[in-house]
Amino acid sequence: MTKSSEDSPSRRTFMTVVIGLISAVIGVAVAIPILGEILSPLFKKRDIVWAELGKIDDLKKIEPLTPKFVPVYFRVKEGWTINTLPRQVVVVKDITGKLYFFSNQCTHLGCPLHWIAARQKFLCPCHGGMFNVLGKVVGGPPPRPLYQWVHKVNSGKVLIQNKFIDNPKDRGI
């Protein structure tokens, strides 16, 4: 015959411990796979692809110090789908003829920048960040100059990668 907990305090302790252990085992057994499911995105690499922007000769013809907004379309794997991510590339030519490929996302928290021609500045509609045409911060809260897309020139065509130069935390995008 099993004794009831009222007969013996040690029996009571034993039962309490077993109840606790069973709960703990079941809890952990359920929690581990759930945690795996939640953390899963951390183990997936970002899908990095190239997308075509246009001919380098055409881009070289743009006005100096006047940004030109050119859309690119990245085809990336995400979850169970392949998605098209449309993004703006802001092409700027400086006075020496060098081309820059900026992102139009503010480096503060990522809002879309407006180019104000009359003031020769990019303004951010969210918290008033300001950048000059070459991407330097000239006002407001942004902590760093504009992001630049990773790019290369291949047989006369400019290719853009869905990645920013010098952006260790992958912010923006």
Binding site: I38, N83, R87, L109, C111, I116, A118, L123, P141
Partner: protein, 368 residues
């Protein structure tokens, strides 16, 4: 007939006793109307759950489709606009009433011993409801949703050490895309509501456990000093919850619901344009309850300070609010006997209103 049914149940489950137990709670008599906000919030939450459930009959949490399914619901489903409108205006009202309820509790010192845990449970509810609001804003799938997701993800990425991970986890991936919407959806319709459904009973249970504990004006006749726990257990006069207090609760509920209904039918829920990541002249806007926080983001420029506005100030603010009953341990409850707390509270509310007002000003740079 009714008597018979009642007797049948009483014999088996003691129904009458149960009902009397729930309804018989005695409430301090003088503050009647000031005590209606709590039940009003419970009522509003029920409205949110019911309308939300039936929005799910049409809604699709898939980024390109989310906005169109919401649009369909509003324009092509019979009276869908009303259900959607009630859900939106009900949410706004809920957040607003939450602030009122919290202010009432704060100024009347009702969070003090023995009600500390109740304030903490209430703060959990408050935090969850605000996140419910934000995620709801994202689920519409319009232009603002898209940018809100991105901006808030970037805010999250500024948490020290683990920020980058948090951003990926809430997005459910590296891009703002299908999985992001799916995650936000799961959080908004299931995870957080469950938390609320668990914490409302805890919040109410604790009220019953600690007893009356009304506002200072309930105890004018008491000779006991403020720091005597017995003083707060015996109000000068009390009334039973049913029907006296519930009567007031229902009148307030009806009034507020009428306003929500009017706003839902008359103004409805604006759905806005489809998101366009390529937009060149779009100025994202936060919901009104987030404007104060948004305004804060403007004041900490540069690399070294960004963490103040994205992480330190908000989390410190929340921590202080959570710990309020453990910080302010004085025994005085009347707002007039603890001027420091009252003045601080008023200043904080004024600051909140001020930040919200200037945060709401149009921010799009003039295109000259």
């Amino acid at each position: 007939m009714f008597k018979k049914i009642q007797e049948w149940f009483d014999e088996r489950i003691g129904l009458t006793e149960l009902i009397n137990e729930f309804n018989g709670e005695r409430i301090p008599a003088r503050g009647g109307w000031a005590y209606t906000f709590g039940s009003l919030l419970a009522f509003l939450f029920i409205i949110q759950v019911v309308t939300g459930m039936f929005l799910l009959f049409y809604y699709v949490p898939y980024f390109p489709m989310a906005r169109n399914s919401t649009y369909f619901l509003k324009h092509h489903v019979l009276m869908g606009n009303i259900v959607l409108g009630i859900h939106l205006w009900g949410a706004f009202t809920m957040i607003f009433i939450l602030l009122v309820h919290m202010s009432r509790v704060y100024f009347s010192g009702s969070y003090k011993k023995p009600r500390e845990m109740q304030w903490v449970a209430g703060m959990v509810l408050f935090s969850v409801v605000v996140i419910l609001g934000l995620t709801g804003y994202m689920l519409v799938g319009n232009e603002n949703s898209w940018w809100t997701i991105n901006v808030l993800d970037n805010v999250a990425s500024h948490v020290p050490l683990i920020g980058g991970f948090i951003r990926i986890l809430v997005k459910g991936g590296t891009e703002t895309s299908v999985l992001t919407m799916q995650h936000i959806f799961a959080i908004h319709v299931w995870l957080l509501p469950i938390v609320v459904i668990m914490f409302i009973p805890i919040h109410i249970f604790l009220v019953r456990k600690t007893g009356e504990q009304g506002m200072a004006l309930e105890y004018k006749n008491s000779k006991l000093p403020d720091d005597d726990v017995n003083k707060w257990k015996h109000a000068d006069a009390t009334v039973p919850f049913f029907p006296d207090q519930l009567f007031k609760d229902m009148i307030v509920a009806l009034g507020v619901f009428a306003v929500i209904y009017f706003l839902a039918v008359y103004y409805g829920a604006a759905i806005g344009p489809m998101y366009r990541p390529l937009a060149l002249n779009f100025a994202p806007e936060a919901d009104w309850y987030f404007l104060a926080n948004e305004e804060l983001l403007k004041y900490f420029p540069g690399h070294g300070l960004i963490i103040f506005s994205t992480f330190l100030v908000p989390s410190l603010g929340f921590a202080i609010l959570f710990a309020l009953p453990f910080i302010d341990r004085g025994h005085e409850r009347s707002p007039f006997k603890r001027p420091a707390a009252t003045v601080l509270g008023i200043l904080f509310l004024l600051l909140l209103v001020y930040l919200t007002l200037i945060g709401g000003e149009p921010k799009a740079p003039a295109t000259v």
